[in-house]
C-alpha cells in the first residue's frame, strides 16, 4: 500500500474495485466506517453485490476482466469534466513530457510490436530530451505529442456508452461512480483506491493497477492522507516475502536478479550500469547490490571478485509459477521445497499442477497440517499411490505464536511477534529448519574441491553457535553493518558501494539502528499525528507511513490544503516537517533543483502517466480475458498481445460455445487462501463448511437449478461439484446487447480438513499477466449443470 490502514479514515471517497475488504480484510472497515462517519463515501465496484457493497454508498456491477474500460471511462470522464487537479498533474507527473514520433497506437497495438515474439520493442516509446538529457516539456499540456494529449486521445475512445456496453454496468450506476469518485480531484479532498487479487489476477493485471495510478495521479490523490493506491495483500507476510526476494526475478529489496540473457549482466560492473538509472533514488543501486553481496558472502566478497557477484545464479528463462509447473509437468524438475504453500488448491489449473508433482523424484513440504499438496499422492486427491514415485518429506512447522520474528503487513509496517508457547509436538519454526538444512549441506559440501561448490561454500552462514539460530543475528544482518566499525547502520543512506557496508535488504536498513533497538518491536501507540503512529513498530522505507507524501505539498512546499497536509517546507528550519517521515530529500528546498521531484524514486522525480517500461504498452488498453464470451469492442486485438500463451495439454482453452458462462473465484471471510489454516479449525469450518457456487436467479431459472441443489461446474480444464447458491447479488450483464451470465465461487476447498469440498482452481487457466505472469484466476469460461 502507498498509505496504511489507519489512514483510510481520512478518505473522502474509497473506490473499492477488484476487492472485497469487508470480507477479506475485515478490520479495514473499522477505518472505512470511521471515514463514513466523517462524511466519506464508499464506492464498491464488483461483479457481485458483496458485503463490501452492502456497506457502500454507491455500488456498480461489472463483468470480470473489464477493469480497464471501467477506469479508462472514469479517466475520460475526469478529463472531459475538468475534474483533474491540473497543477498536480503538470508538476508531479510526466504529463507535460513530449513523446518522440516512434510511439504510436493503432487498432489495439502500440508501435514496435513483433507478432512472432508476441513482444514490443520498448525502445520505440521514448521521451524527447534536450542535449543534457532533460525531458522536453510543454507545461500548457497543449502539444499533441505531449503525454497528456496522447493519453487524452487514447482514453477518448472510452466514452460512457462504449464502456458500459463492455462492462455490462447499468449506465446510471456507472455515472454515479464517476461523479462520486472524481469529485476527489478537488483540492482539500482525497480519494483512495483499494484493490486486491480481483485487479491483479488477469492477463492485464499489471495494467489494471497502472490505470488506477493514472486516475489517482490525474485527481492528485497520491501522497495525500486518505489517498494513494492501497493494494490489500492477502497473506500476513506476503509483503515481507516479496521484499526479501522469494521471486525468481528479483533479489532482496527489488534488485533485479542477474540474467544470462543480458550481455551486460555478465559482469557486476555491466549489471550495475545496465540496472542503475542516472537520476532518482535508484541511482544508489550499486550501494544496495554490493551491500547485499557482502551480507551473503561476507569476507568471500571482495572488490577483486566482484564482491561475489559471479556466485549468484544467472537464469535464462522466465521461472515464474506457471512455467515452474510446466517444467515440472514435462519432468524437467527433480526436487521441490514447499514452505507453507498449497498449490494443489491455490495454484491455477490445480489438476495439472497435482499431476506435475507426480513427476518429481522428491518433495519436501513444511506446514502445520497435512495439506492437499503434501498428500497429492493419496487416493483422496484422485491419485493412484502405486503409480507415483515421488518421495515426500512432510515436516511439522510451528504456528505464528510458537515462534518469534517480524512480519511486514500490507502497509509495510514491520511488526514483531513474540513466542507465546512452545511448538506443538515436534513442530519446529521454519527458521530452525532452514538453518539446520543449511548447516547439514555445509557439512556435506565441506572442503569440496569442486568449483561448482564454491558459490555455496562461500555463502556466509553464521547465526550463533546454539542449537537453534539466533534470530537477532539474522535481523541485524538484514539491517546491515558498517563493516569498518562493526556498528549497525542507522539508515540506508549510509550504504556504500565499496564493500565497507553490508545489508541483507536495503529497504529495511535502519530498522535496527542500534544494539538492542529493533524498531519493529516498538509498542508506543501514541498517535504522533494524523494516525500515522510513527513510534509503533517500523515501516519501510525509513519509517515512512505515507509514500510520496512530498506530493501532499504544492510545488512551493506548502500543503495543497490544510485538511490534507502531511509534510511541508519549514523555511526557518530549512527542512521538511509534518506528521510523517518525509518521502523526500529532507533538506532539499522546494526551490532547489529537484525540489518538486515528489516521486524521487523515478528518473525525473515525476510519476509516470506514460510508462514505457511495461511489456504491454505505455498506456493501459483493454483486451478481453484469455477466455471471453464476447469479442473485444475496443480493437481487433482479442487478447493482450504481450501475454505468453502455453499451448497444448498443460493449458487447454475453452471456447464460448461450449463454455458460455463467465466464471470467477474469490474468498470468504471465514477461510483463508488454500484453506489449510482455516478448514482445520472447527469453529471456522462450522461457519463456512461447504463449497458453493453463487449464481443469479435468472441464470438458475434458465438452467432449472434451485437453491441448495448439487451442481457441476466444468471448464476446458476440469470439473467440480458444489452446492448452488442462487442469489439476488449476481445479475446477468447486458454486454453490447447480449445477455452474459457470470457465476463466482470460493477457491479455499480441498479434500483435507474438517470442511472439505472440490477445489475451484481445477477450472482456472494456466495463463498469466504480460509482466508478472500472475495467473488469470478471475475471469475464465465455464458451464454449469445439475449434478443429478
Amino acid at each position: 500500500m502507498t498509505n496504511h490502514w489507519n489512514d483510510l479514515q481520512h478518505t473522502d471517497c474509497a473506490l473499492i474495485i477488484g476487492a472485497n475488504p469487508a470480507e477479506n480484510h475485515p478490520i479495514s472497515f473499522r477505518w472505512l466506517t470511521k471515514a463514513k462517519e466523517n462524511g466519506g463515501k464508499i464506492v464498491s465496484v464488483d461483479p457481485r453485490f458483496t458485503r463490501t457493497s452492502a456497506q457502500a454508498d454507491v455500488y456498480a456491477a461489472l463483468r470480470s476482466g473489464t477493469d480497464i474500460p471501467f477506469i479508462g471511462g472514469m479517466i475520460n470522464y475526469a478529463i472531459q469534466n475538468n475534474l483533474i487537479h491540473k497543477e498536480y498533474v503538470v508538476k508531479y507527473t510526466n504529463a507535460s513530457f513530449i513523446v518522440k514520433e516512434g510511439y504510436d497506437f493503432k487498432d489495439g497495438l502500440f508501435s514496435g510490436y513483433d507478432q512472432t515474439k508476441r513482444a514490443y520493442d520498448k525502445t520505440k516509446w521514448v521521451i524527447e530530451t534536450t542535449e543534457d538529457g532533460k525531458p522536453v516539456k510543454d507545461e500548457t499540456l497543449e502539444n499533441p505529442r505531449s503525454v497528456f494529449q496522447l493519453m487524452k486521445k487514447h482514453y477518448s475512445r472510452y466514452d460512457v456508452d462504449t464502456v458500459t456496453a463492455v462492462t455490462g454496468t447499468p449506465k446510471d450506476d456507472y455515472l454515479k461512480v464517476c461523479e462520486t469518485f472524481c469529485s476527489t480531484g478537488k483540492v482539500g479532498k482525497s480519494g483512495t483506491i483499494m484493490y486486491a487479487m480481483g485487479t491483479t489476477q488477469h492477463t492485464v493485471g499489471s495494467q489494471n493497477v497502472r490505470i488506477y495510478a493514472i486516475l489517482q495521479l490525474l485527481l492528485g490523490n497520491i501522497g495525500l492522507p486518505g489517498g494513494g493506491i492501497n493494494a490489500m495483500r492477502g497473506e500476513s507476510n506476503v509483503q515481507g516475502s516479496t521484499d526479501f526476494g522469494l521471486l525468481f526475478d528479483n533479489l532482496t529489496g527489488y534488485l533485479a536478479a542477474p540474467k544470462a540473457t543480458l550481455p551486460e549482466h555478465v559482469t557486476l560492473k555491466g549489471y550495475l550500469e545496465k540496472e542503475t538509472p542516472k537520476t532518482g533514488y535508484w541511482s544508489n543501486k550499486p550501494k544496495f547490490v554490493v551491500s547485499l553481496l557482502k551480507s551473503w558472502y561476507g569476507n568471500n566478497a571482495t572488490a577483486d571478485n566482484e564482491f561475489g557477484y559471479q556466485f549468484l545464479p544467472k537464469g535464462n528463462k522466465n521461472y515464474s509459477h506457471i512455467n515452474l509447473f510446466n517444467a515440472m509437468y514435462k519432468g524437467e524438475l527433480e526436487g521441490a521445497f514447499m514452505f507453507g504453500t498449497n498449490p494443489v488448491v491455490g495454484g491455477p489449473n490445480a489438476g495439472k499442477e497435482k499431476e506435475a508433482l507426480g513427476n518429481l523424484k522428491w518433495m519436501v513440504a513444511i506446514d502445520l497440517w497435512e495439506t492437499e499438496t503434501s498428500a497429492f499422492w493419496q487416493t483422496g486427491a484422485g491419485s493412484d499411490p502405486s503409480k507415483i514415485n515421488t518421495e515426500v518429506f512432510l515436516l511439522p512447522a510451528s504456528a505464528s505464536f510458537e515462534k518469534e520474528g517480524s512480519i511486514s503487513n500490507s502497509s509495510r509496517w514491520m511488526q514483531y511477534r513474540w513466542k507465546a508457547i512452545d511448538s506443538k509436538g515436534e513442530a519446529r519454526p521454519d527458521l530452525d529448519i532452514i538453518h539446520e538444512l543449511a548447516l547439514k549441506l555445509k557439512k556435506l559440501y565441506a572442503n569440496s574441491p569442486k568449483s561448482a561448490d564454491k558459490p555455496f561454500l562461500f555463502l556466509d552462514w553464521n547465526y550463533g553457535t546454539g542449537e537453534v539460530p539466533d534470530i537477532d543475528l539474522v535481523a541485524k544482518e538484514i539491517n546491515g553493518y558498517d563493516l569498518k566499525t562493526g556498528k549497525l547502520l542507522k539508515t540506508f543512506g549510509d550504504l556504500k558501494d565499496d564493500g565497507s557496508t553490508s545489508s541483507g535488504n536495503w529497504i529495511y536498513s535502519g530498522f535496527y539502528p542500534e544494539e538492542g533497538k529493533n524498531l519493529s518491536k516498538r509498542r508506543d501507540n501514541v498517535d504522533t499525528g494524523n494516525a500515522n503512529y510513527l513510534n509503533w513498530s517500523f515501516a519501510w522505507p525509513a519509517n515512512r507511513r505515507i509514500l510520496y507524501n512530498r506530493a501532499s505539498a504544492d510545488p512551493s512546499g506548502q500543503p495543497w490544503s490544510k485538511e490534507k497536509a502531511v509534510i511541508w517546507w519549514d523555511a526557518a528550519q530549512k527542512k521538511w516537517i509534518g506528521n510523517d517521515v518525509p518521502d523526500f530529500k529532507a533538506v532539499t528546498a522546494p526551490t532547489e533543483p529537484g525540489g518538486t521531484g515528489a516521486f524521487m524514486m523515478n528518473k525525473d522525480g515525476v510519476a509516470l502517466l506514460f510508462a514505457p517500461t511495461l511489456n504491454d504498452g505505455p498506456f493501459p488498453e483493454h483486451y478481453e480475458p484469455f477466455e471471453s464470451p464476447v469479442p473485444n469492442v475496443f480493437s481487433s486485438q482479442q487478447l493482450n498481445p504481450a501475454t505468453v500463451i502455453i499451448e497444448g495439454d498443460f493449458n487447454k482453452k475453452g471456447g464460448k460455445a461450449k463454455y458460455p458462462i463467465v466464471g470467477t473465484t474469490y474468498r470468504v471471510s471465514e477461510h483463508w487462501q488454500s484453506g489449510s489454516m482455516t478448514r482445520n479449525q472447527e469453529w471456522l469450518s462450522e461457519l463456512a463448511g461447504h463449497m458453493f457456487v453463487e449464481m443469479s436467479e435468472e441464470f438458475a431459472k434458465e438452467r432449472g437449478i434451485k437453491n441448495k441443489d448439487k451442481i457441476v461446474v466444468s471448464s476446458a480444464r476440469g470439473e467440480i461439484k458444489a452446492y448452488a447458491m442462487v442469489t439476488k447479488r449476481f445479475k446477468p450483464y447486458n454486454v453490447n446487447g447480449k445477455k452474459v451470465h457470470q457465476i463466482g465461487m470460493p477457491w479455499h476447498f480441498g479434500f483435507k480438513g474438517f470442511a472439505t469440498g472440490d477445489t475451484a482452481n481445477r477450472l482456472t487457466p494456466h495463463i498469466g499477466d504480460a509482466n508478472t505472469m500472475i495467473p488469470e484466476f478471475k475471469a475464465f469460461l465455464c458451464d454449469v449443470r445439475r449434478a443429478d
Binding site: G234, G335, T341, W362, T379, S408, I434, S451
Partner: protein
C-alpha cells in the same frame, strides 16, 4: 518477556465490580460435574503474549493467553493501533491453531509408491533431505553456459512461503540462491 501496557484495555468502568466469584454463571459443559459457583475467571492467571495475526495482510495485533502449556484464549491486542483490540472471525480463532487435533506433530515420510506415511525423526529427515538436495544439485549444476558464468541448477524448485517471518524469508532466499536455484517462487506470484 515484553511489558504490556494494557491501559487502553476497553475496561467498562464499573463501580463495585464484585470479586472473582461469579454469583450466577451459565456455562456449557459436557458432563454433570457440578461446577463450583466460583469457576475461576478464565483469563485470571494466564501469561499474555502479543503476536501478529497469521492470516491476511492487515497485521492485527493479538494477545495469546496461555496457562500450563495450553492456549486458553486469544483476543485482539487493545494496544495495537491497527485493530485496537478488534479481530475478524479468523483472527479470533487463532487459539484453535494450537488446540486443533489436525496439527502435524511428527515428521512424516512417504516412500515412492507407498500409500501411507511413516513417522520418522527429525535427524533422519533433514539428513536425507540434505542428501537429496546435494545429489540433485551436483547432478544438474551448470557453472558456465554459452561462455557465461551462470552457477545455476534448474532441477530444484523452491516454493513458498508468504506466511513466513521476514527473518525466515531472508534465510530461505539466501540459502536457495546460494545453492544456485533459479526456480524460486512463492504465493505472491499466484
Amino acid at each position: 518477556m515484553v511489558e504490556l501496557n494494557l491501559s487502553r484495555r476497553q475496561f467498562l468502568k464499573l463501580s463495585g465490580a464484585t470479586a472473582a466469584t461469579l454469583a450466577i454463571v451459565e456455562l456449557g459443559f459436557d458432563d454433570k460435574r457440578a461446577y463450583a459457583k466460583t469457576k475461576e475467571f478464565k483469563i485470571a492467571k494466564t501469561t499474555v503474549t502479543p503476536t501478529i495475526c497469521c492470516y491476511c495482510g492487515v497485521g492485527c495485533g493479538i494477545l495469546v493467553h496461555t496457562k500450563k502449556n495450553e492456549v486458553v484464549y486469544t483476543e485482539g491486542d487493545p494496544d495495537n493501533p491497527i485493530n485496537e483490540g478488534k479481530l475478524c472471525s479468523k483472527g479470533t480463532t487463532l487459539r484453535q491453531l494450537y488446540t486443533s487435533e489436525k496439527r502435524l506433530t511428527k515428521p512424516l515420510y512417504r516412500a515412492p509408491g507407498s500409500s501411507k506415511w511413516e513417522e520418522k525423526d527429525w535427524g533422519w529427515m533433514l539428513d536425507t533431505i540434505a542428501k537429496r538436495t546435494k545429489d540433485t544439485r551436483d547432478a544438474s549444476f551448470v557453472e558456465v553456459e554459452n561462455g557465461i558464468t551462470v552457477n545455476k541448477t534448474e532441477k530444484i524448485a523452491s516454493l513458498g512461503g508468504a506466511a513466513l517471518d521476514n527473518e525466515e524469508t531472508y534465510l530461505l532466499a539466501k540459502l536457495m540462491r546460494g545453492l544456485g536455484i533459479t526456480y524460486l517462487e512463492h504465493q505472491a506470484r499466484i
